[in-house]
Structure formats: structure tokens, C-alpha cells
């Protein structure tokens, strides 16, 4: 232990640490401020906001998490999760056509979309491996391309080549699907409604869980002597205690917040994915991907099959995106046949970047924080726009400006940093 302390870099003075913290998390901090200002301007009540954000987080987090593994493998943001989303969406369309609802419908959708997503992921991986160094722009364009194929399939081939007799789904001409599909009475809320809990109660259970976990970690840290981690755990304990108190008080009060219902199963699935991702990073495959991401040349020399690993990363990402889209759609309840998957990649990328990720580094907490912040902006900006400019439309434009802008700035900063590092060498 003494040895380890001996070789550690001396800690920077706290002022400098604070400064570098600000610089490194500029995007996130800026966003936090933006969200708070927007929240204030929109004049939303806490209950209303919570209701919206809970459902949006439940709906989108899974898709954002799908981006993590390709980043780990050094392939940047995989905008081509759109393909996975298409696979999930296609499965849902067919299951709806067959009229299978509820949990059975969901499981059937998963069964249908999984092989499809793996196949698409394989093709995407092959392509991205070919376009080394240009992965992101290629995945973006691939998304657009795939969208064309998707439209060809559902707008032209359905009814002409593929028979589909369904007055509700198919256009009156008999060819092509209608532009929106309603899932109510079928798959709508099939996962969400399995079990719901009021928000304060949910928070209460979370707080208890965190308290137990925090205490366990603290004791473990004390025993093994990893003293520096102790501080983090104590902070965790304090936060969860505060949450505990707040949720206890709220749940006993008559606050409107008690009306906010949290879809428990969906949250559990997201938690499971987080746990899996965390586990995955510690496996042999995860370690290989990390190596590939850090330096593909060294990976190759030390005997790792770089192409194979990259393709695997994309396949996993695409598969997760397909499942993510199923969660997304069942929560939405009705969706635009030709539009609701289009921007999946873009929104997920914007969210994770807002959370503080970069093209080469992304963690689970980036994804979670980013989803909350990004969707807060989604909720508040039309209202804030209306209150500020008398025009909700301006808020909408502002929202897409921010989404695109954040990606541009984050990617730009990353490219610039890389260039500067290259110069230094």
C-alpha cells in the first residue's frame, strides 16, 4: 500500500480542480443552467414536470444506453442505432397486425426483432469497419439510407408484394401503411402497466436501496483501506438520506406528486441493462473492446481480431436499440409509421453528449444524466418559448437547434482536442 501512495500524482490545489471540473463538464453545466432557467420560464408545476420526465426517461433511456458499447470500441456515436429501432418498430407493426397485445405481444416482438437486429447490426458493423475513421458520418448516412429502404418496404411493398389485409393499418388504396399506428388496446403500456408505483414511494424504495448499498460499500472500503473512496460513499449516503426524508414526507402529504406513477417494470429493465453494461465492461470481451477503442493497432498486434470485435460491438448496440424502440413505442401508445424512428440516433446522441460523454468516453451515468437533462429541455422549451416570445414554435426550433448544436459543439470540441494533442506530439 505504501508503494501505491508513493507513486501517486500529487493532488492539484482545489481551485484548479474546480476550474478543470468546470472546463471538462462545460456542456453539462451549461445545460443544467439552461434547464433550470427554462423550467422557471415555463411555469410548470413540479408534479406536471415529474410526470412528464418520468415517462420520458422510462421511454428513452434504453435507447441512449445502446450507444455506450460502440463508444467503448472507439467507433464514436453509432447513429445507425436507427436500424435497430427500425427492426423493433417493424416487429411491433407485425405484432399489431396480428392483433396480439399485452405481454405476449411484447415478447413476440422481441423474438421477431432480435434476429433481424443482429443481422442488420452485422451488416452495419461490416460497413463501419470498412469506413474506418469515418464511422460517425457513415452511420448517420446509413440511417438515412435505411430509412429509404424502410419506406420502400412499408409504403410500396406492403400490399403489392407482401399481402396485408388490415383496414386499420393499411391505406385505403390497399398499398402501404397509414402514416400513424395506434397501439391502444394492444401493446400500449404493455410493459409500463405491469406494475406502477407512485413517485414518492418509488423514490423511497430507491433511497432505501441506496442507503443499504452505500453502507455496504462504506464498510467494505473501511475494511480494505481504500480511504479515498470513503468520501464518495459518505456523499452517497447523505444524498440518499435526504431523498428518503423527502419522499417519506411527500408520500404522507396530499401533494400532487403522489399522482405521478412510475412504471416499475420498465425502470427495472433499464436498471438491468445498466447492470449488464457495467458487467460487460468487466468481461474479456469488454476489455478487448476497450483495447480496440484505445489503440486498434496495438490490439491487432497483441492478437485481438479488431474487425470482429467492432462488428460485435455494433451488433450488440443494434440489438439493444431494437429492444429500446419496443419500450419506446409501447410507452408512446401511438406512433408515426415513417417518422418515429428517424431521429432516434440523433436524440440519443444529443442526450448522451449533454450528460458529459464525448466521442471516445461514455459511461452509464452520462447516459442517465443526459437523458434527464435533454428531456427536461424537451418538456420546457415549447412552454418557455410561448411565455418568452409568445410563440411555442420558437421554443420548438430552439429545441432542435440545441440538439443539433450540442452534437456539433461536442464533436467539434473533441476533434479540436485531438488535433491539438496531435500537434503537441
Amino acid at each position: 500500500m505504501e508503494k501505491s501512495l508513493h507513486n501517486r500524482v500529487p493532488r492539484k490545489p482545489s481551485k484548479e480542480r474546480l476550474k478543470s471540473f468546470f472546463v471538462n463538464n462545460l456542456v453539462t453545466i451549461l445545460f443544467l443552467v439552461l434547464c433550470l432557467v427554462g423550467l422557471r420560464l415555463s411555469g410548470l408545476s413540479l408534479a406536471f414536470y415529474l410526470n412528464d420526465i418520468v415517462s420520458r426517461v422510462a421511454r428513452n433511456t434504453f435507447l441512449v444506453l445502446a450507444l455506450l458499447i460502440p463508444v467503448l470500441a472507439g467507433m464514436g456515436l453509432n447513429f445507425a442505432i436507427v436500424l435497430g429501432a427500425m427492426a423493433g418498430q417493424s416487429a411491433i407493426i407485425f405484432v399489431t397486425h396480428w392483433g396480439i397485445g399485452g405481454m405476449g405481444g411484447i415478447l413476440l416482438s422481441v423474438a421477431i426483432c432480435s434476429p433481424l437486429a443482429l443481422f442488420l447490426g452485422y451488416l452495419t458493423g461490416r460497413l463501419l469497419d470498412k469506413a474506418r475513421g469515418k464511422e460517425m458520418i457513415t452511420s448517420l448516412i446509413l440511417g438515412y439510407f435505411a430509412n429509404g429502404v424502410y419506406q420502400l418496404f412499408f409504403l410500396i411493398l406492403v400490399g403489392t408484394v407482401i399481402p396485408m389485409n388490415n383496414e386499420v393499418l393499411v391505406l385505403s388504396s390497399g398499398v402501404g401503411l397509414r402514416s400513424s399506428i395506434d397501439l391502444s388496446g394492444g401493446l400500449r403500456y404493455a410493459i409500463d402497466d405491469v406494475m406502477r408505483l407512485s413517485f414518492p414511494l418509488f423514490a423511497l424504495y430507491c433511497a432505501i436501496g441506496m442507503l443499504v448499498l452505500g453502507t455496504y460499500l462504506l464498510i467494505k472500503a473501511r475494511r480494505t483501506g481504500k480511504l479515498e473512496r470513503e468520501k464518495h460513499y459518505i456523499v452517497l449516503l447523505v444524498v440518499s438520506l435526504a431523498l428518503f426524508v423527502w419522499s417519506l414526507i411527500t408520500s404522507l402529504s396530499l401533494s400532487a406528486v403522489n399522482m405521478v406513477r412510475v412504471p416499475l417494470l420498465t425502470m427495472a429493465i433499464i436498471a438491468a441493462l445498466c447492470a449488464f453494461t457495467h458487467f460487460f465492461f468487466k468481461t474479456k470481451m469488454g476489455q478487448d473492446l476497450k483495447t480496440v477503442g484505445q489503440d486498434p493497432h496495438i490490439a491487432e498486434v497483441s492478437g485481438i481480431n479488431v474487425s470482429r470485435r467492432k462488428i460485435q460491438a455494433i451488433m450488440i448496440s443494434t440489438l439493444l436499440a431494437a429492444w429500446g424502440q419496443i419500450i419506446f413505442l409501447q410507452n408512446l401508445g401511438a406512433f408515426s409509421t415513417y417518422g418515429s424512428h428517424e431521429q432516434v440516433g440523433m436524440f440519443a446522441a444529443a442526450a448522451i453528449l449533454i450528460g458529459g460523454a464525448s466521442v471516445s468516453k461514455a459511461t452509464i451515468s452520462h447516459a442517465l444524466l443526459g437523458t434527464i437533462l435533454f428531456h427536461t429541455l424537451f418538456i420546457v422549451s415549447p412552454l418557455a418559448g410561448r411565455n418568452l416570445f409568445g410563440d411555442a414554435q420558437i421554443g420548438e426550433y430552439f429545441r432542435s437547434f440545441v440538439a443539433y448544436g450540442v452534437i456539433a459543439v461536442a464533436l467539434g470540441l473533441h476533434a479540436w482536442k485531438k488535433l491539438m494533442q496531435g500537434r503537441k506530439k
Binding site: 470498412k130 475513421g133 458520418i137 464533436l411
Partner: protein, 352 residues
């Protein structure tokens, strides 16, 4: 015999390689569609006139890709930036109540300083993003378009032709009827064998091509070309590569702004808000179809690519309508073809 077979096979492969697979597919596709259209008795003269018009109206936008590619900054996905500068020029011309050629050239004149400044800033940014130009450029383009949406919605233009009758901001599409609608198309136009020749439009397009061609024989033009082809060669000759990349992007932006004005006069409307979003991809696809790569492009690529791509789109619509009344087929084929071509170009090994 077997040996000869092998060698012809190899030369065929070589030919496919030099001519480019997507180009071959599209030429075959286009010829097939023309054949089908003839058998369906769709008037071929009409098709050809339409193709010519769309060739001319899209040509300058495609031409805007060229300086950027030549300067080594890749496909000019920042095209929306240039387009928006052109649109502002177009709006100013209406606001000042200009008509006819005065309005058209006035619009170009107004947009010039804007696009020069925007192009400079854009090029400056590209120099800081070496290596990931295209990805970031795409998002810079996107975010600029949505930023401008806010501007359109709040812009202080007064002319009733442009503003919403109630409230603030500009209409989504602004008609150019009575201003400079089709002013180039109709200039000296005539028809032969049922084919309308939009003389003015084509002359303007070819004129712009000649201008670009001329530019690449000047001292600056050659320095720009060399910087794109081999930056290390250029800097060893004392040429500032970064400066040349900026020049290339300014030039691309200016061509983009002129391009949208040519497009709009033929289309008859100025399209604001989100309309410019995907125009960059279409123009990029056109020049790639013409045989350009993300590192190399020529006027021939522009002329050929625009003609093939637009020709395909023009013929696809009536054919699709006759085969099965599906209007969306043309739009879908546009999406698939344009993005497919860009994908193909990206998947090529960069460099040699």
C-alpha cells in the same frame, strides 16, 4: 483461352473500378427507365425538357461541392449555410421591391458579402476540425438551419408577400411570381422537337462552371488544388494550407448561395425554415454519382452527376405513377439512391 478469359475479366473489373459501380448501376437504371417510359408512351420530349430544367437548377448547388472537395475539406455538408445566405439575399431583394433581372442579380449581390463572411467562419472552423470535417460539418449545417428557423420566425421583414398576415415572422414558402420567377429559364428559351430548352438557365449554369474552371487555372486556384491534393507538398512550397482551405470554403459557400437563388427562381418559391436541411446530401450525392470521390472532383463530375441524378428523378415519377399509382416512389428512390451513393463513397478506402 482460359487465360484470355481471365484477362478480359480482369479488364472488365478494372473498368468497373475506374468508372465506379454506382455510376454504372445508375446509368443502366436510367436507360431502363427511359425504355420503360417510351413503352408506356410517356412523352419523351417532356421528360427531356424537365431533365434539362432540373439539371440547370440544381447544377450550381452541386458545383458548390467542388471547391471544398478540391481544398481537402471533403464533401461540403455545410451547404445549408450557403443556402441560407442566398435566401437572405433573395428576401432582401423582395423587401427592396426589386423585380426582374435586377431582383435576381440584386439577390446574388446581397448574398455575396454574407456568404463570404459565413464561408470564412466556416472554413476557420474546418481548420480546427481536421480529420472529422464531414461529421461536424453536417451538424453545424443542421444547427445553423434550426437557428435560422428562429430567425425566420422573428425576422423584421415588412413586405406582405413574405410576412404572415397576422403575427410575426416569415411564411414557410415565399412565392416569386411577379418577381424573378423563372427569369433564367425563360430567357431566350426555345423548343426543338417538343423539347423546351431553358437557354438562360443553362447558359448561367455553364457560365458558373467556366468561372470555376477559370478559377482553377489562377495562382490561387492552383494553390488550392495543390493544398487539397497534397498538403505537405503545398506547405513545402510556402503555401498556407489552412488559408487555402478557408478560400475553398468561402468559394463553396458563395456558390451555394448563388445555387439556391438559381434553384428558387426555377422552382418559383423561396423555401425557408427546415427546407435547406437535406439539400447538402442531395448535392453531395449528385457529384459522387458523377464520379467524384471525397478527395477529387471535376467539372465533368458535376455536369454528368447532376444530369444522371436529376434525369433519374424526373423519369422515376411518371414511370412509377403508370406502374402503380404511388407518388412516394420517386421520393423513396431519391432517398435510397442519394444516401446509397454517399455510403458507397465513404466505404471506399480513403487515399489511394
Amino acid at each position: 483461352m482460359a487465360v484470355r478469359n481471365l484477362s478480359t475479366q480482369r479488364s472488365l473489373k478494372e473498368m468497373v473500378k475506374t468508372f465506379g459501380l454506382p455510376r454504372i448501376i445508375i446509368v443502366i437504371f436510367l436507360i431502363t427507365l427511359w425504355g420503360i417510359s417510351m413503352s408506356l408512351e410517356i412523352p419523351f420530349g417532356q421528360l427531356l425538357s424537365d431533365t434539362l430544367v432540373r439539371w440547370g437548377m440544381n447544377g450550381v448547388l452541386v458545383l458548390a461541392m467542388m471547391p471544398s472537395i478540391m481544398a481537402g475539406t471533403g464533401l461540403y455538408f455545410g451547404l445549408p449555410v450557403g443556402i441560407i445566405c442566398g435566401l437572405i439575399g433573395g428576401l432582401l431583394a423582395i423587401e427592396l421591391n426589386l423585380t426582374g433581372f435586377a431582383a435576381f442579380f440584386g439577390a446574388i449581390l446581397f448574398s455575396l458579402p454574407l456568404s463570404a463572411i459565413a464561408g470564412w467562419g466556416y472554413g476557420w472552423m474546418m481548420n480546427r476540425l481536421k480529420g472529422s470535417e464531414m461529421t461536424v460539418a453536417t451538424y453545424i449545417g443542421f444547427s445553423f438551419v434550426s437557428l435560422m428557423c428562429i430567425f425566420w420566425a422573428m425576422a423584421p421583414f415588412k413586405s406582405p408577400e413574405m410576412a404572415w398576415p397576422i403575427g410575426r415572422g416569415l411564411r414557410v414558402t415565399i412565392s416569386l411570381a411577379g418577381r424573378y420567377e423563372k427569369i433564367l429559364n425563360n430567357f431566350l428559351s426555345f423548343s426543338v422537337f417538343g423539347v423546351m430548352i431553358p437557354t438562360g438557365l443553362l447558359l448561367f449554369f455553364l457560365g458558373m462552371c467556366l468561372l470555376v474552371r477559370f478559377f482553377f487555372t489562377t495562382k490561387t486556384g492552383l494553390a488550392l488544388k495543390a493544398s487539397g491534393e497534397n498538403p505537405r507538398f503545398s506547405s513545402s512550397s510556402g503555401v498556407s494550407v489552412d488559408k487555402m482551405r478557408i478560400v475553398g470554403n468561402i468559394f463553396s459557400t458563395i456558390l451555394g448561395s448563388i445555387g439556391i437563388l438559381v434553384y428558387s427562381q426555377s422552382f418559383g418559391f423561396l423555401q425557408l425554415y427546415t427546407a435547406p436541411l437535406f439539400m447538402g446530401f442531395l448535392a453531395a450525392a449528385s457529384i459522387l454519382i458523377g464520379g467524384a470521390s471525397i478527395k477529387k472532383a471535376s467539372i465533368t463530375h458535376v455536369l454528368l452527376g447532376t444530369f444522371l441524378f436529376q434525369g433519374l428523378l424526373v423519369v422515376a415519377l411518371p414511370v412509377a405513377n403508370k406502374v402503380a399509382t404511388l407518388g412516394s416512389l420517386a421520393e423513396i428512390s431519391r432517398i435510397i439512391v442519394s444516401n446509397g451513393v454517399i455510403l458507397y463513397a465513404l466505404a471506399q478506402k480513403s487515399g489511394e
